[in-house]
Symmetry: C2
DNA sequence: CGATATAGACAGATAACCTGTCTATATGTC
DNA sequence: GACATATAGACAGGTTATCTGTCTATATCG
């Protein structure tokens, strides 16, 4: 009734992908806020996802996340202010600085993984573990090259 | 090597959902630009997706899209400037205006549907139609309540 | 050593949202 | 019909997450 256009055209795959993605995002970042990290936002995952144990260069992080150095610098700056990261000069290159997680940052990373797993478990509870595994397999296949 | 963290934790479902979603988005809106609609951006789909044939009220569009009236007004304003929409007073309510697609707006809608179908067909070509149908079925199931 | 490339800082812009407030118009109640 | 309340949307202003362009300091290569 309200969505005459959509149902006539049926829902696009993009729309169908976005719904659970955004739902998971709300659940995960809501959970993070509830666990005492209210200033961690979805965009920050670009940092957490790629940062190496021994620290990473801004430029490398930006490249891995597929964004500009400036954008990454903005995200890193916010996280550093919140005490999730520290930066130190790179001893092997005077131009560079290494960005490293603090203990607090590592706790966020752990929480992020745990909350994602919980959200995924809720999906398994809804559609069954087999369907979830199928979904995962297809998405992994799509992610490949 | 670079993604030690991620592979250790394996890729989150959220991450796996986002990749094809963003890819489709790039393909669809890139295609739209190539077809002569370079000023249509992903956010505008919130308007196209919900607008009724006879015109819709701003407030209704905002509600259907899950955003504020102000945000919807911003999107509608841009589309009206581009000649994709017109607004007219609602004859049944002096406070309201009806937002309607122009012929140009309808061409965008058609292109949006066609380009989404093409993107989906490319996925079918990669993973096979059966896998795509499975993906769609699971996502539809997740979208339900 | 000098030319060129790279790391990241600084300045400024834009898109896509948000909250809060205000006016005009409707609507339901007495 | 008057008045209280609700609704439609405009106006002002803020934030987040990106971008481009430019600049300096440091490296590296020939």
């Amino acid at each position: 009734m309200s969505d005459r256009n959509i149902t006539a055209a049926r829902r696009t795959l993009g729309f169908l992908l976005r719904q659970p993605y955004e739902r998971m995002q709300r659940e995960v970042y809501g959970g993070l806020a509830a666990r005492g990290f209210p200033d961690i936002r979805p965009a920050h995952s670009a940092v957490f996802r790629h940062i190496a144990a021994g620290g990473s260069r801004l430029t490398v992080l930006a490249e891995q996340a597929g964004m500009t150095k400036q954008s990454m610098a903005y995200l890193v700056e916010g996280l550093a202010e919140g005490g999730y990261l520290v930066t130190a000069p790179d001893p092997t290159d005077g131009r560079a600085r290494l960005v490293k997680l603090t203990a607090r940052g590592r706790r966020v990373w752990d929480a992020l993984i745990a909350l994602s797993a919980e959200a995924e478990a809720r999906i398994a509870a809804r559609v069954g573990p087999a369907r979830l595994a199928e979904l995962r397999a297809i998405l992994e296949e799509l992610a490949e090259p």
